[in-house]
């Protein structure tokens, strides 16, 4: 099918330091594409005549009297424009520090940036600040327009020096510098067609470059993100029927699927997807505004995040974040602020973790002034749902408001807040060190120690796999121990139930056990559901990242429910037990496991050999005796693949 202009819509924000020519460039682009109505041009011509100034393309954007009088942009605006069949929304962003909230308002929707840099001045303070804002907002690609190239006499060597320094600054912010184009915005040089003044320049003019980069971005396959929908409201019009209205933020939902609400933890099933004027809607995907009818009437309110039960967001009342302060009122650590995340709201306190890295913007340490960046812990009074890289979802941006004003924008940080869960150690304790180091145990064992941390739903096949793996490693003369979640609940963890906190404690104990075996050179196979990403992250920390191999034993929920080896799902559906993962308690799928095994498609022996390959790859088995026939206990290997399946 031919690609239509609609399919390639890009929102492009133009950023840069004050007076480097952002609005002029935007005006010039519009004029060059011949889409500005004659009477609007005549209007600007008249203004310029009245002011006795040269025709100023910026006035097409900076339409406010104050902006034209002072020659600045006060607020952001957006203009639709079409070039060669591509439709763009150009977003103008003011450069002055005091208008930073306006710049951020415009840029927050962009998926691509044009950074305007004045050739005379190079990178300046607002250039860098704008790049930091773009980076925080999630804009990952930038085209540089090196403006006013006429004022450096179209000099190639000056241009190249500027390229180098600009590229460096951009890449520091984790943004790709796609292309650098020399232009003169006021004269319209090298915007649409190649300039006669720039014979040495081999690249394309700005607009053709924009098209190329936009096409490139469109080709980058969006990672498959888990389903997320934010609940805006629950409608009950004439009938008693309830409609759960909201927007799909990522992924896809289909009629008949089981859904999970966070933070309330409620579950239900999608009976129908309602879009007025579109009966028989079977599915809804990212950015669609829909309403769901549910097969089970549950009470939930605005603020919930809807997901699938086996791929849920995190729920907590605190999280780490990076934020940008956007208010002229300084930050106050004692103030109660309002957190808005998804459609949820909660009172919160903001605790700065360290001073923002922008010394100029903050006169005193521990405070934040307009335009400063900081790392912080947001402590909300209520539980809220959110995503981090570990849960892979898109509910990761938020704003902080004081009474009637948005004062900061932020993004949830990857690192969890551990303060609540890390227990206080008595300061009088001292660690006793043994005489034998791990390395010597490993020499004795003939292989290195490591931890294989299996995670997956009940019935996915973790225990079966662990047993087979134990036998296979034993066959290779390896020292191996299986920490089976259910077995540990008979002893070490017998006092624990299945609440979120108890599940966390369970994981903490298993992780510390794993660590002890690891320190004596064992290959540790942990097989427990470990449903929460943050608990697995904690386990990773306890074990040590180098030795922690997350193995995602995947199996579709429906298949797990069919297998139901322990009868948990059927007991849960008849209401005999509660807090069953995948039924009424969420599971958060690993986003970057060391290995993902689909037990609905693979046999256990295939899974074992993939894990052995992983161990070989990591040189764990280097000195292990591969041919250790004498240890072989043949009858252990007659176990059928997935006895529970």
């Amino acid at each position: 099918m031919a690609q239509t202009a609609e399919a390639q819509l890009n929102k492009v924000v133009v950023v840069g330091h004050v007076d480097h020519g952002k609005s002029t460039l935007l005006g010039r682009i519009l004029l060059a594409c011949g889409k500005v109505p004659e009477d609007r041009i005549a209007h600007v011509e008249k203004i310029c005549q009245d002011r006795s100034v040269q025709f100023e393309p910026a006035f097409l954007f900076d339409a406010l009297q104050e902006e034209q009088e002072q020659g600045i942009s006060i607020d952001t605006t957006r203009v639709n424009f079409e070039y060669e069949g591509h439709r763009f929304i150009l977003i103008d962003a003011p450069g002055h520090l005091e208008f930073l909230k306006n710049m951020t308002s415009g840029a927050s929707e962009a998926d691509l940036g044009i950074l305007v840099v004045d050739c005379n001045q190079g990178v300046r303070s607002q250039t860098e600040r704008h790049l930091k804002i773009l980076s925080m907002l999630g804009v990952r690609s930038v085209i540089v327009a090196l403006n006013k190239v006429d004022q450096i006499n179209y000099d190639q060597s000056i241009f190249e020096q500027l390229c180098e320094s600009t590229r460096k600054i951009i890449e520091q912010q984790d943004i790709a510098c796609e292309e650098i184009v020399p232009i003169c915005a006021l004269a319209g040089d090298n915007i649409v067609t190649a300039s006669a003044n720039l014979e040495w320049y081999v690249g394309k003019p700005l607009l053709p470059t924009l098209i190329c980069v936009a096409q490139k971005i469109a080709l980058i396959e969006k990672e498959v993100t888990p389903f997320r929908m934010v609940l805006q409201d629950v409608y009950r019009f004439s009938s008693s029927e309830r409609f759960f209205a909201g927007r799909v933020e990522s992924g896809t939902i289909r009629v008949g699927q089981d859904i999970f609400f966070s933070p309330s933890g409620k579950v239900s099933r999608v009976e129908s997807i309602e879009k007025f004027g579109q009966p028989e809607c079977q599915s809804a995907s990212a950015s669609e505004s829909v309403a769901l009818r549910l097969s089970e009437q549950i009470f939930v309110e605005r603020g919930e995040v809807i997901s699938l039960v086996d791929n849920a967001p995190e729920v907590d009342n605190e999280f780490r974040a990076r934020l940008a302060w956007l208010s002229l009122a300084p930050f106050n650590p004692d103030q109660d602020y309002l957190l808005k995340i998804g459609t949820a709201e909660s009172a919160c306190k903001v605790e700065l973790l360290k001073d923002g890295d922008d010394a100029a913007a903050q006169p005193e340490s521990g405070s934040l002034s307009n335009g400063a960046f900081a790392e912080a812990i947001i402590r909300a009074t209520r539980q809220v749902a959110f995503d981090r890289a570990t849960t892979g979802g898109v509910i990761d941006n938020f704003v902080i408001c004081s009474t009637f004003e948005t004062v900061a924008a932020g993004v949830v940080d990857n690192r969890p807040v551990h303060t609540k869960r890390s227990l206080k150690v008595n300061p009088n304790l001292r660690r006793e060190r043994g005489y034998v180091e791990r390395k010597r145990f490993e020499e004795l064992n003939g292989h290195r120690g490591t931890v294989l941390w299996m995670t997956g739903l009940s019935g996915a096949g973790k225990s079966s796999l662990a047993k087979e793996l134990e036998a296979a490693l034993f066959e290779r003369s390896c020292r191996v121990v299986v920490l089976d979640g259910d077995n540990l609940r008979f002893g070490l963890c017998a006092d624990l139930g299945f609440s979120a906190d108890e599940r966390s404690e369970n994981i903490r104990r298993i992780a510390h056990s794993a660590r002890m075996f690891l320190d004596t050179g064992f290959i540790v196979v942990s097989a427990c559901i470990s449903p929460f990403a943050r608990d697995r992250e904690l386990a990773r920390e306890i074990v040590g990242a180098d030795d922690f191999n997350e193995i995602f034993v995947f199996c579709p929920l429906e298949e797990c429910q069919r297998r139901d080896p322990k009868g948990l799902y059927s007991k849960a559906s008849s209401g005999q037990i509660k807090a069953v993962t995948g039924f009424d308690s969420p599971y958060q799928s690993p986003q970057r496991p060391a290995l993902r095994l689909d037990s609905s498609k693979m046999t256990v022996s295939q899974e074992v050999s993939m894990i052995i390959s992983l161990l070989e790859e990591k040189q764990v088995l280097e000195n292990a005796k591969a041919e250790a026939d004498q240890y072989l206990i043949k009858d252990k290997f007659t176990l059928s693949a997935h006895s529970d399946g």
């Binding site: 406010l64 007025f276 605005r302 009637f404």
Partner: protein
């Protein structure tokens, strides 16, 4: 998968639902023109066929007569709740564009709107303005707070980041919520065609002329046109080289006429 009209529609519905959920006494400012009629359709979509909010029409008494006939027929046909606001004092006093177009707009539109908002305790109003209409509208926010005086503090607008619109406002402040801000004139017509919307006949050419934008009869002109169908209107707009509001006299009184009107609370 979605085309551009779908993404505009989804975004607008999201905004409408936010306003309905976050504010008390939401209304829809309806001029019976193409934009606010599209907005009305989007409200219906947002609420699954229902229109749970009242429509507000500011009647200057100078509207083109067909508009009022069409208004009454349409509201009756669709059983819509309609609030009609007017500045009766100014009308009794004989207010007319001849006393100055901006003075007239200020009295019969802005003041009438502010009085109606106050009288009916409306906290938020959906308004169908678009960024591409004229320069000062280009600078608008989706949710724009206005004090009792209606003043638009365009130099100090609230931050509006991602989808976090500022809908918390003090009791005395009302909100103008703009779900169509990112639509263009062309989008509106293409959407009307796609959704087969019932639209005011004045937009179609009669005897070689038609209205491109509708307002009060003394200040709104027609354009030369032979477009009698939606297809022809869209075709005509593709080749036009003038702005949509070129026929609106009040815009031209002064270089910054619309900014002045709008900073005083005009829609």
């Amino acid at each position: 998968m979605s085309n551009y009209l779908d993404s505009l529609e989804n975004e607008s519905i999201f905004i409408i639902r936010e306003a309905y959920s976050r504010t008390k006494n939401l209304g829809l400012l309806w001029s019976m023109g193409k934009d606010s009629t599209v907005l009305l359709h989007l409200v219906r979509k947002a609420f699954l066929g229902n229109v749970p909010i009242p429509l507000v029409h500011i009647d200057t008494s100078y509207k083109i007569p067909e508009m009022i006939e069409w208004r009454d027929r349409y509201t009756k046909e669709h059983s819509l709740r309609l609030i009609v606001g007017a500045n009766k004092e100014a009308l009794a006093d004989g207010m007319h564009p001849s006393r100055g177009r901006l003075t007239c707009c200020g009295a019969l539109k802005t003041q009438a709107l502010l009085d109606t908002i106050k009288e009916h305790k409306i906290q938020a109003l959906l308004v169908g303005i678009r960024r591409d209409e004229e320069g000062s509208r280009g600078k608008e926010r989706v949710a724009s707070p206005r004090p009792e005086s209606g003043t638009w503090t365009y130099k100090e607008q609230p931050a509006e980041i991602w989808h976090y619109y500022n809908m918390h406002v003090p009791e005395t402040v009302h909100l103008r919520v703009h779900p169509l801000l990112q639509w263009t004139e062309m989008d509106v017509w293409e959407y009307i065609r796609r959704e087969k919307l019932d639209i005011m006949p004045l937009y179609f050419a009669k005897d070689g002329r038609r209205y491109r934008s509708l307002g009060c009869s003394p200040c709104t002109g027609t354009i030369d046109s032979s477009a009698t169908t939606l297809d022809q209107i869209i075709e005509e707009l593709r080749s036009t080289n003038t702005t949509e509001r070129a026929g609106r006299a009040q815009d031209k009184v002064d270089t910054y006429a619309m900014q002045k009107l709008r900073s005083g609370g005009y829609m």
